[in-house]
């Protein structure tokens, strides 16, 4: 160590972590103050402006964390560096932040803005890493921010960011399980993702958040099956396990027609499995045929669902994976899902895993042990692979023994027993004991070798090692119970052993044997009892119980010789320390010794004690373990682990297979399975190898593009409703399109091809054409240009590198380069039609659209009611909600109510007007009503109402005060004073009152909305209350909930509202889009996210109740 310290000194700063570690260790142990000092100098280093010093400090801090030392007091100093330029410092700060944020929630919030900025970075890797860290900070306050970030990232154009979003889902879920519903929506969206990068992670999220929502898988089932081989290995494991469960609920048991008697035929079936290396495909087909033929032969033909077959076929190549977890996952899938004839293929792969690390062996052997009970034939050819080496760890040896025992049958028992003989000589005594047990089990299972085994075991009785002898006795006892009459000499032999054997279990076994079969050894038995009575007090409890037992049995059969002995033993037992033994003695005395009081039972004592006992069944501990999903932790522990999902039983009748149909004709229609498989398997390799030329390649991209174009045309159809709305501004239009396309994940094929070579571009031209054709055929109208213009934003948006190529392509397609202009024109003409054909709703008055911005603001200043200008915005004054400020009783007769009048507060435009209504219910007058001692959060201001000099009894007065809430829903606390009393009161505004109405035209609205995307946009799905399904009701409820004005809109499917927050004049835009059956979508765009979030809640409440 000292040498290394010197070395560190030589190297200087960067590697002095090691140095710091033990240079300081002893010090910190001794002197507390120096520990404190150390942190001081770290703080200093972190505050310096040299990156190298910061890095050095961070390295030392991370080393502290790694050793489990508490470094939380450095939090403020560290968190400052979160925006440091140096990448390594930044990374280490992240490490620190994620570790300690939970403990220092408030300070952690300081870092949030950095990540929020990172979320908008043009570089996908920075976006991803920002999301990763943000979601790893376990601070509950930022749940809404995380939710927004995840939603945003889930529709990011980069698959890597989407993958990170999928990773973030379980993090958020564990932080706040109440977000489940929203998260499920995101999962649903990501499950539809077609990239391999995302698939594994989203299934992982699915498993953690909503494994019960099996319905989400239907549409994605085939896609997952097809992508599986290209997913990274960890994702494969998760997907395969999930699909196993899925298949169990959706398909029929393939072995439904096989009777239990066929178990034995497993042997020759595996023969196919082991032989298949010649030509696997042919073989597989053959097997398939055979399986089918076999099924056909049965009365009730079983036809495998093609989707079931798809799963089996696509997972099979993964048995060749280098990752043991993947191999195991496929093995369990085959074990649980495949027809018996096909399960054999997994044996070879599992045996291969036995070459791996001992921990892997341990797990694999456990699973093999379970499998061998059900399907013995499968592993028989590999018997020798389970032979035990002296160097194996004991736990492996015992498991191998288990497997060997399960595999034993008439033909191989002799070799197995010969193996066992060598094992018995092993130095590892636990293993020897297990071997003896195994011999016992072989003997019970296979009748022919029972005598041989018994003889062998009897020989072991003379072994020098006591453990071996004891174990043999126990096993022999079990074996003898099967045919006791033949083996009285063995019993005699064992009786002699009582002098030597000290192991309690063995002594107990011998005593039991002698008692049970005392008729076979009538001379010896009483003698044994005599010896035992002598040593009774020194025996272990189980032995004592057996001595009592033996005494009782002898008393019943041979009372002449043993009466006194029995009495003696029972007397000893009466005063034993153990209450079990005392109880037993009392019980037996009553039962066997006839007294005048003894009941009717003593007559039956003999029958009770000497009844014929059934021979014990020696069973494998692995029996029936297969009700746990193999390969799972629960299976290994043989106990349900937390979060374990039961493997469901096969359904009686297959659920509707059509749920898995996706609106993609290619997948369902593709008849040639083999071809499909080939395509899928080869895809990842060929797509990147430039050297390969392309029939497969083009086929591939074609299928891809077909699916893409399909979903695209689908999206067009579904989107047509909203498209028919007026869209005058091309800019916002484009944004909207972009959003839409993002949602539908249209850019996915483009994204994929990003990394592909330019040769690929050639292929894409016909592709493009096919896209057009598709959209032509599927959308009724002549939307040729539109579909083109639509695809362009999505394409140009995400392929920086491709932009040039694309341009060329466009030229090739003889499109004028001034495309945007053309597009704009197109849209204008479209708008003309769409906007004015459906009768505009009555609210859209010409006045509104003609109003210039300035005029609106001018008018706003006037306290004229809005109703004159725009009838839609009025909230009927009756809708103004009154809140109670002071109750009659607490106010001693004075009642004060307030409401938010929604009028501009003339003295200060940044204040919210609050109208107070005072009622004097008392019998005396109240004088000089005023307010005092206003307590406010920083930044808030209050304009007090003018003092009310006199409020006579029974009278009512009103006053207006202004409060600047600073756009927060913090309460304003103050004292309301009369000439005699002071009352503490507080006014807390609903978020809807923190804004004032503004007038926007539809175009302005869209433009503003376009600028408030992303984090500033919150979308909620809701079901409208039955009473508010018409437009009018919606308007009324929304305007009642928040002080917003209606924005005129051409469509009656959408209601838009606009407002500005009172203090900061940030825009608040609300859109309620209704669908059929009361479904609706609420979108709030607001720069102030807190306001937005709260507003969503309020409006949601208003619309659903």
């Amino acid at each position: 160590m000292s040498a290394s310290s010197a070395f560190n000194d030589d190297k200087g700063g960067s590697s002095s972590v090691g140095e710091a570690e033990y240079a300081y260790d002893p010090v910190s142990g001794k002197i507390f103050s120096s520990d404190y000092n150390r942190h001081d100098d770290l703080k200093e280093m972190l505050d310096s402006n040299k990156d190298s010093l910061k890095l050095e400090a961070m390295k030392r801090i991370v080393a502290m964390i790694a050793r489990g030392k508490n470094a939380s007091d450095l939090f403020p100093a560290v968190v400052k560096n979160v925006a440091c330029k140096n990448i390594e410092v930044k990374k280490l700060v992240y490490v620190y932040l994620v570790r300690y944020a939970e403990e220092q929630q408030d300070l952690a919030l300081l870092s949030i803005s950095t990540f929020q900025r990172g979320l908008k970075d043009p570089n996908q890797l920075i976006r991803a890493s920002a999301l990763r860290v943000l979601s790893s900070i376990r601070v509950t306050i930022i749940v809404p921010i995380m939710m927004l970030a995840i939603k945003e990232a889930a529709s990011d154009m980069s698959p890597y960011v989407r993958k990170t979003a999928a990773h973030a889902i379980p993090k958020l879920y564990s932080l706040d399980p109440e977000q489940k519903d929203q998260l499920i929506e995101v999962i649903e969206k990501l499950l539809a993702d077609k990239t391999t990068l995302v698939a594994g992670s989203v299934v992982m999220a699915f498993e953690e958040v909503c494994p019960e929502r099996i319905d989400l898988i239907h549409k994605n089932y085939r896609k997952l099956c097809n992508l599986l081989i290209d997913v990274e290995e960890w994702g494969q494991v998760v997907i395969i396990n999930m699909l196993t469960r899925y298949a169990r609920t959706q398909f029929l048991n393939p072995n439904i027609n096989e009777s239990l008697l066929e178990e034995g035929s497993g042997g020759d079936k595996t023969f196919y499995g082991s032989d298949e290396d010649e030509d696997e495909d042919d073989d597989e087909k053959e097997k398939e045929k055979k399986a089918e033929a076999a099924a056909m032969a049965k009365r009730k033909p079983y036809v495998m669902d093609p989707d079931h077959r798809l799963l089996l076929r696509n997972t099979k190549p993964l048995l060749q994976s280098r990752n043991a977890a993947v191999v195991m996952a496929v093995a369990q899938l085959y074990f649980h899902l495949a027809p018996k004839a096909e399960v054999g293929v997994i044996a070879k792969a599992l045996v291969r895993l036995l070459r791996s690390h001992s921990e892997v062996q341990f797990v694999v052997l456990q699973n093999v042990a379970t499998m061998t009970i059900k399907r013995r034939g499968m592993f028989e050819p590999y018997l020798k692979s389970f032979y035990i080496r002296s160097t194996d760890p004991t736990q492996i040896k015992v498991l191998k023994l288990e497997v060997l025992t399960n595999l034993a049958n008439e033909t191989n028992i002799s070799t197995i027993l010969r193996e066992f003989q060598t094992y018995i000589k092993s130095m590892d005594k636990d293993f020897v004991a297990a071997t003896i047990q195994a011999i016992g089990r072989c003997a019970t299972n296979i009748g022919e070798v029972r005598d041989t085994c018994l003889n062998g075991l009897v020989q072991l009785l003379s072994n020098r090692d006591e453990l071996v002898v004891a174990e043999s006795v126990v096993v022999i006892k079990k074996l003898l119970q099967m045919q006791p009459e033949k083996h009285s000499d063995i019993i005699k032999h064992m009786a002699k052993l009582t002098d030597n054997i000290q192991v309690p279990m063995a002594r107990a076994s011998i005593l039991w044997l002698i008692g049970e079969y005392c008729e076979h050894v009538p001379k010896i038995a009483p003698d044994v009892l005599r010896k035992m009575a002598k040593s009774f007090t020194n025996e272990e409890d189980i032995v004592k119980l057996q001595i009592i037992n033996l005494a009782a049995k002898l008393y019943l059969t041979n009372s002449k010789q043993t009466k006194l002995l029995t009495q003696y033993v029972l007397n000893l037992a009466k005063y034993d320390q153990n209450y079990d033994i005392r109880d037993r003695a009392r019980f037996i005395r009553q039962l066997i010794v006839p007294t005048e009081k003894s009941g009717a039972l003593s007559k039956y004592a003999k029958k009770l004690f000497l009844a014929l006992k059934p021979a014990p069944v020696l069973e494998s501990p692995f029996k029936d373990r297969d009700h746990f999903q193999l390969g799972s932790l629960s299976h290994l522990l043989n106990a349900k682990a937390g979060g374990y999902q039961e493997l469901p039983d096969w359904p009686e009748a297959a659920p509707d297979p059509s749920v898995r149909n996706v609106e993609v004709p290619e997948w369902t229609k593709c008849s040639s399975r083999e071809k499909r498989k080939e395509k899928k398997v080869e895809k990842p390799f060929y797509s990147d190898s430039e050297g390969e030329s392309g029939p497969t390649e083009s086929a591939d991209s074609e299928s891809d593009s077909a699916t893409a174009s399909d979903s695209r045309s689908g999206s067009e159809e579904s989107g047509s409703g909203s498209e028919s709305e007026s869209e005058e501004d091309s800019e916002s239009e484009e944004e909207e399109e972009e959003k839409k396309s993002k949602k539908k994940e249209l850019k996915k094929p483009v994204q994929e091809s990003e990394s592909e070579q330019s040769s690929e571009e050639e292929d894409r031209k016909p592709e493009k054409k096919s896209k057009q054709q598709k959209s032509d055929s599927e959308s009724e109208s002549d939307e040729d240009e539109e579909s083109e213009s639509e695809s362009s934003p999505s394409e140009s948006e995400d392929s920086e590198s491709e932009a040039e190529v694309k341009k060329k392509k466009k030229v090739a397609e003889s499109k004028p380069p001034s495309k945007p202009v053309k597009k704009e024109k197109k849209e204008m003409s479209l708008l003309d039609l769409d906007d004015f054909e459906p009768a505009p709703s009555p609210q859209v008055t010409p006045v509104n659209t003609l109003l210039s911005n300035s005029l609106v603001t001018d008018l706003e200043g006037l306290s004229l009611s809005d109703s004159v200008l725009s009838p839609a915005t009025i909230a009927p004054s009756s809708a103004l909600k009154n809140y109670e400020l002071l109750h009659r009783i607490t106010g001693e007769g004075l009642t004060v109510e307030y409401c938010f009048s929604r009028q501009p507060f003339s003295p200060d435009a940044n204040m919210v007007a609050v109208q107070l209504q005072f009622t004097n219910n008392s019998s005396s007058d109240t004088k000089s009503l005023h307010m005092e001692d206003v307590k406010l959060q920083s930044g808030m201001r209050v304009k007090e109402f003018p003092e009310i000099e006199l409020l006579p009894a029974g009278e009512t007065a009103s006053a207006v005060m202004g409060i600047d809430f600073c756009d927060s829903t913090q309460a304003a606390n103050f004292q309301l004073c009369t000439h005699t009393k002071k009352f503490f009161v507080s006014i807390q505004p609903p978020v809807g009152e923190l804004m004032r109405t503004v007038f926007l035209t539809e175009n302005e609205f869209k433009k503003e909305q376009g600028q408030l995307m992303g984090m500033n946009e919150i979308t909620e799905k809701l079901t409208l209350d039955a009473r508010c399904r018409n437009e009018h009701a919606i308007v009324q409820r929304v305007t009642a909930a928040a002080n917003l004005s209606r924005v005129p809109c051409g469509s009656d499917k959408e209601c838009r509202f606009a407002g500005r927050t009172v203090t900061s004049s940030s825009l608040v835009l609300v859109t309620v889009a209704t669908r059929e059956e009361g479904a609706a979508q609420l979108t709030v765009n607001c720069e102030k996210m807190v306001i937005g979030t709260m507003l969503v809640k309020d409006i949601l409440l208003a619309l659903t109740q």
């Binding site: 890095l55 570790r99 960890w234 290396d277 977890a325 690390h357 921990e359 760890p393 190898s689």
Partner: protein, 418 residues
Amino acid sequence: MIHSLFLINASGDIFLEKHWKSVVSRSVCDYFFEAQERATEPENVPPVISTPHHYLISVLRHRIYFVAVIQSEVPPLFVIEFLHRVVDTFQDYFGVCTEAAIKDNVVVVYELLEEMLDNGFPLATESNILKELIKPPTILRTMVNTITGSTNVGEQLPTGQLSVVPWRRTGVKYTNNEAYFDVVEEIDAIIDKSGSTITAEIQGVIDACVKLTGMPDLTLSFMNPRLLDDVSFHPCVRFKRWEAERILSFIPPDGNFRLLSYHVSSQNLVAIPVYVKHNITFREGSSQGRFDLTLGPKQTMGKAVESVLVSSQLPRGVLNANLNPSQGTYTFDPVTKLLTWDVGKINPQKLPSLKGTMNLQAGASKPDENPTINIQFKIQQMAISGLKVNRLDMYGEKYKPFKGIKYMTKAGKFQVRT
């Protein structure tokens, strides 16, 4: 998934901890220590331990326990495989995976662990990607970093994670383009007391060291591919091509990797290259035992058997051994009772032997077990199964690479029962 990771050394100290979710107190390891105490041998600690609130899954490598803390259902192999991958990565980075190496590079270790798991789910385990993210420490780099103040965290962002060939870095450049393949076969065998083979099988691997510029596409074909019974591939190998043509076609990762591991079909008889004549006896009543061991070559196809190492666990009753090797050196550890004999090369003219007596505890009865003998050896330039590479071709790049194939046979778990 994986909540936390604790590294525990042979003496039972937790010397590194890392948490991916909420912090789990290190007291959870007490359950592990209990299990460790119960187990007689270090490798007998159960890999999966259930505690009231957590499950501990551990692997033991290089005398370090890697203990992962799990909170809910997860396939145990998933965790075990991942932990081994972590160890492999450490080995790859630091050359050795020892406590000292980990402590010296604790920051790099932490950075690696941070990248490898996100919220307990594996993120980047491919060594090529990791090396792009975090440069492995070398003496040169440490020096440079010290002087220039630069870091060993990759400045550019890892594009590999996004590519379709995640295992290969982009923009690889070498002046000498070379591709080496080592075909290494191991014989696992159990030999009977009488010298007859109880079980023998051959497992092989092809390890590659590929340093080629650009994006080469390689194909490797065998003279006798039928020998291969069961194979498992590096993810880069195109499975379909192998199925159809029995040709390995792949875009290689950069640097060292295991291309293929295989099992030679059991129908083929396995040639056993060495034989052992042994005579180990203990006499009743005397406190002495005889030890007599002779090694000889057999079926080696004319190649020399090298690096022979014999080891045997003698019975507990043996106090000491007094032996005389005809060549090489032997050691006997009286505590563990492990006898090792470093033989070296076997000379067919003068067979190596080890003869002498063993002293038993006075008064102890004759041990009834006989020790098994484990043998290690190497044979260069031969694959015992007879597997031969036919040719290696490169597509996709213009230059001519230097290609090399090496064959070797080793003893795997080669045991002789006495």
